[in-house]
């Protein structure tokens, strides 16, 4: 069964975002990959070949493009894909310990899925949240920041019960009309653009 066989409207919508030319069709590669990955958690070789036929290229090129990004997976991922930032700031703040703890308690290695199908882990490069290191991203839902031993245990306990806690910083970050970022709990962060200089703009 092919994935896109019964989704012609979706495929047409994706293609409509690009010029109607052979090169334009090729540009639709990334949203198609994203579509498959969101639905199945990873992109299998069969799906690569299917996308290649759709956009008029070869499976080799599809794999070449998708292997450039660590955010596409060629192996199945768990229901909760835990991504640990391992770049310098997080490493200094203890991401190695966090990683070791996750690998030991969940009993998974990169590329594996825990026996209950819930967890998979991955080390990723800088997620740009150095001020709140060490940090963790679950799927593409958002950032869990300052993840110390206690917070990690609480998150894992909630995930085991399939109650995913709200991220500290949702992705994409919501920005209010006045240009303020808002955390998941409604607290505004940062400085308002319009509020610069004490509101005397």
């Amino acid at each position: 069964m092919t994935y896109f066989a019964d989704k012609s409207a979706l495929v047409a919508d994706i293609f409509s975002r690009y010029p109607d030319s052979p090169q334009g069709r090729r540009s639709a590669l990334m949203p198609l990959l994203r579509e498959v990955q969101d639905a199945e958690g990873f992109v299998s070789e069969a799906r690569m070949a299917e996308i290649a036929v759709l956009i008029g290229t070869t499976a080799t090129e599809v794999r070449s493009v998708m292997s450039f990004y660590s955010t596409y997976h060629t192996v199945p991922t768990g229901k909760y894909h835990l991504q640990v930032c391992s770049t310098l700031m997080c490493a200094l703040a203890g991401s190695d310990e966090l990683w070791d703890h996750l690998v030991e308690t969940l009993d998974v290695q990169p590329g594996e899925v825990s026996p209950d199908g819930r967890f998979s882990v991955q080390k990723v490069e800088c997620l740009g949240s150095c001020g709140t290191a060490p940090m963790l991203q679950i799927n593409d839902d958002g950032y869990y920041e300052n993840v110390g031993p206690g917070k990690c245990a609480r998150i894992l306990a909630d995930l085991r019960a399939d109650r995913q806690p709200l991220p500290d910083n949702p992705v994409p970050v919501t920005v209010t009309a006045e240009g303020r970022q808002v955390m998941a709990n409604g607290q505004t962060v940062g400085t308002s653009l319009t509020g610069l200089g004490g509101g005397t703009v």
Binding site: E45, T58, T60, S67
Partner: protein
């Protein structure tokens, strides 16, 4: 355009790349990723040069340097060395190479150190040793030492991309030549970089490389990452006897180098010929050669009283022929040859047939009509519309297919300089835009279909007739495109030419005349075009090869119809074929890799053959064999050697064949002789050329179990020694 390289000023055409400017000035720049027939991308960062240009003031005058008469435009140098393969030389540009610039020398040495950072030093075992550009350039431009003491990256070694190409991912330096080759030349994007970043490697997701033109990547790989599996571990570059010659498996006549070692043909690589194959050859030509050194006939065989073929000397064979043909009228002896025979051999055969006054003369395969070519391969590449009618180019003339694909991407031929083909032609781009509407394929489905804008399924036999009187909209569209095109070319294959009747040539010349199209008809055999210029067809009342079993007695050279003549049969062949097993006397023949002579390709280009050093025992070419046959018949052979044949041909063709240029020369051959012929199905890979994997497994088993013997020449008494 004036460009100054290392202080020498030279005049170059506009559009020249900086790397060609340096080579044009007689200088040298190391490079790995640039290739004359591929787009320049600047991937290897090795061809660094310093460059600078004059700059103009707002009023249009040059910014000057110096006082009074000594003033000259000031050169503004780029702050860093630049990759010369992707940089266009411009008016007044100054270029400094490593010869005059320490900055460049240091940058190149540093880049070399960086490239060697992860390249394994496999040189003692790598098959590219002696032909490795990285090795040579590291010697010429490197520091000779590395500051990186840590372990190298490790990846898959001996990773088979296909039966014929082995990849060593560790050795790859990411020059991207193979990736670009597959994208740009055969239009099959089957290779690409995977896992971009520190662990990039080359791989395919298609489960292997497509057979057809995959072998060319082993030629262009600048290191030992992609190796020809047929030639792997068979010899080192300096051990081979390199023979520049012409491939005669099909009628394209690609320039090749035949590499022999210890008397065995071990490797065939492509040789550049801008007019014919550019720098590419097909897989059959590259990988199909082992038959030339396997199970060869090395002595004559004669049939003894028990009916067995037993080895004999040439003298015994001549005696046997003499006895077997005793009492036969010489005019009843049929003379037949295969179409890969050289022009000289054909002339010798014709001369002997004239002396014997035999009517049963033929060469095979051949076509019943002869369509003189008016298009060259360069014309095909530069056409603006090509119609391929009734041809499967993959079987008939694979490299013609590459020239058609070249036409689809604009027919850009890299310019030629005194130092050869432009190393970086800046007009060539990655992922070139193709114009499939310029190609029509009419006939059975073939590999070319997926590139064609007009695909018309038709019976090849009446395809041409239907094109002249189009009965469908698709055919009408092709007819209109042909008329509109300024430089159209018609390519005719076996399906169209097989059943050709007398009106075929008239229909064709009418269509060509009406549309202004040039014509390229693919001959049935590698040298059919040359041999049909000689009178090697059944003469009045004679029997052709298709009626071999009715001929009273026959001499059959390098043909395998699986039949014998009614009476005494002599077979001259390289291997003990089915026909040879039926013969009374078998004479050993040489392959075309071992011949000196001339072959004529599908454009009518005369190309030279040179003999490679292959051990073939007492095998002889057709000229010498015919001399022996004449001796057995008791007549004086009219042509007894190559020079005699060339003298004879020189008077007929008005061309000296002993001094042909290496790239061949197009020459108008005299009127062709034709006669009714049997339809034939072109097959490029003959049974003998396909490598039998069982042998391969056996050989490896031998190697591992220590039972392997060195392939040395058998000890035979050397004639005329001092002792």
């Amino acid at each position: 355009m004036k460009v100054t390289v290392d202080g020498h000023e030279l005049d170059l055409p506009a559009g020249t790349s900086a790397i060609d400017a340096v080579f044009g000035a007689g200088g040298d720049v190391p490079y790995f990723c640039a290739h004359p027939y591929l787009s320049p991308v600047g991937a290897c960062r090795m061809c660094l040069v310093e460059s600078g240009s004059p700059r103009k003031n707002p009023d249009g005058s040059f910014v000057m340097e110096g006082e009074g008469d000594a003033a000259k435009p000031k050169i503004f140098w780029f702050p860093k060395p630049m990759a010369s393969c992707t940089m266009q030389a411009t008016e007044g540009m100054h270029i400094r190479t490593a010869k005059t610039s320490e900055v460049v020398a240091k940058a190149q040495a540093g880049m070399m150190e960086f490239t060697l950072l992860n390249h394994p030093l496999d040189c003692p075992t790598c098959d590219k040793g002696g032909a490795c550009e990285l090795q040579d350039r590291a010697f010429e431009y490197g520091y000779g030492a590395s500051r990186f003491g840590f372990d190298r990256r490790h990846a898959d070694k001996h990773y088979p991309l296909s039966d014929f190409v082995i990849l060593d991912q560790e050795r790859c330096i990411h020059c991207k030549r193979c990736v670009r080759y597959f994208e740009e030349v055969p239009g099959q994007e089957v290779l690409d970089f995977i896992e971009r970043g520190g662990h990039t490697f080359i791989d395919t997701e298609e489960g292997g490389l497509p057979l057809g033109f995959q072998g060319n990547i082993t030629d262009i790989c600048p290191v030992g990452a992609l190796l020809d599996n047929v030639a792997r571990f068979r010899g080192r570059n300096w051990e081979y006897d390199h023979t520049p010659t012409t491939c005669t498996l099909c009628s394209v006549g690609c320039s090749i180098t035949a590499d022999a070692r210890n008397g065995r043909l071990e490797r065939v690589v492509a040789r550049e010929n801008r007019d014919v194959n550019e720098a590419w050859i097909c897989d059959a030509g590259r990988f199909g050669h082992p038959f030339a050194s396997e199970e060869r006939l090395t002595t004559p065989l004669i049939r003894n009283e028990d009916g067995q073929l037993v080895p004999a000397t040439w003298d015994e064979a001549i005696t046997a022929i003499n006895r077997g043909l005793a009492g036969l009228s010489l005019a009843d002896l049929g003379l037949f040859t295969g179409s890969e025979a050289t022009l000289e051999e054909g002339a010798a055969l014709e001369a002997l047939a004239d002396v014997l006054q035999t009517r049963h003369v033929d060469h095979s395969p051949r076509q019943a009509v002869d369509i003189a070519p008016t298009a060259t391969l360069t014309d095909v590449a530069q056409a603006d519309f090509v119609a391929v009618i009734g041809a499967d180019l993959g079987e008939e003339a694979p490299v013609l297919e590459l020239r058609i694909l070249e036409m689809l991407r604009g027919g850009l031929l890299p310019p030629e300089f005194a130092h050869g083909t432009a190393i970086a032609d800046l007009r060539l781009v990655e992922r070139p835009a193709r114009q499939p509407e310029r190609l029509a394929v009419i006939g059975a489905e073939s590999r070319l279909w997926e590139h064609a804008g007009h695909r018309i399924s038709a019976n090849g036999r009446d395809a041409l007739a239907r094109l002249t009187r189009p009965d469908t909209d698709a055919l009408k569209a092709v007819g209109e495109a042909l008329t509109k095109a300024e430089r159209p070319v018609l390519v005719l294959g076996a399906d169209a030419l097989n059943g050709a009747s007398g009106s075929f040539a008239a229909t064709l010349s009418d269509l060509a005349g009406r549309t202004g199209a040039k014509v390229m008809a693919i001959p049935a055999g590698p040298n059919s075009r040359g041999l049909s210029a000689l009178n090697l067809v059944p003469r009045a009342g004679g029997l052709g090869l298709d009626r071999l079993s009715e001929v009273p007695a026959a001499f059959i050279s390098r043909l395998n119809p699986g039949l014998r003549a009614r009476g005494f049969t002599v077979v001259h062949d390289t291997h003990l074929t089915a026909t040879a097993q039926l013969a009374d006397v078998v004479l050993p023949a040489v392959t075309n890799y071992e011949k000196r002579g001339t072959t004529v390709n599908l454009e009518g280009r005369l190309l030279p053959l040179n003999p490679a050093a292959i051990q073939a025992g007492e095998a002889a070419d057709l000229i010498r064999t015919l001399t022996a046959l004449a001796e057995a018949l008791g007549v004086k052979a009219p042509v007894r050697g190559l020079r005699g044949a060339q003298t004879l041909l020189a008077s007929r063709l008005g061309l000296k064949l002993d001094s042909l240029p290496a790239g061949g020369v197009i020459h108008r051959l005299p009127r062709a002789h034709t006669a009714p012929a049997q339809p034939h199905t072109p097959r490029l890979w003959t049974e003998r050329m396909v490598r039998r994997d069982q042998d391969w497994v056996d050989r490896i088993a031998d190697l591992t179990q220590g039972g392997w013997t060195l392939p040395v020449a058998p000890t035979a008494p050397q004639p005329g020694g001092d002792d």
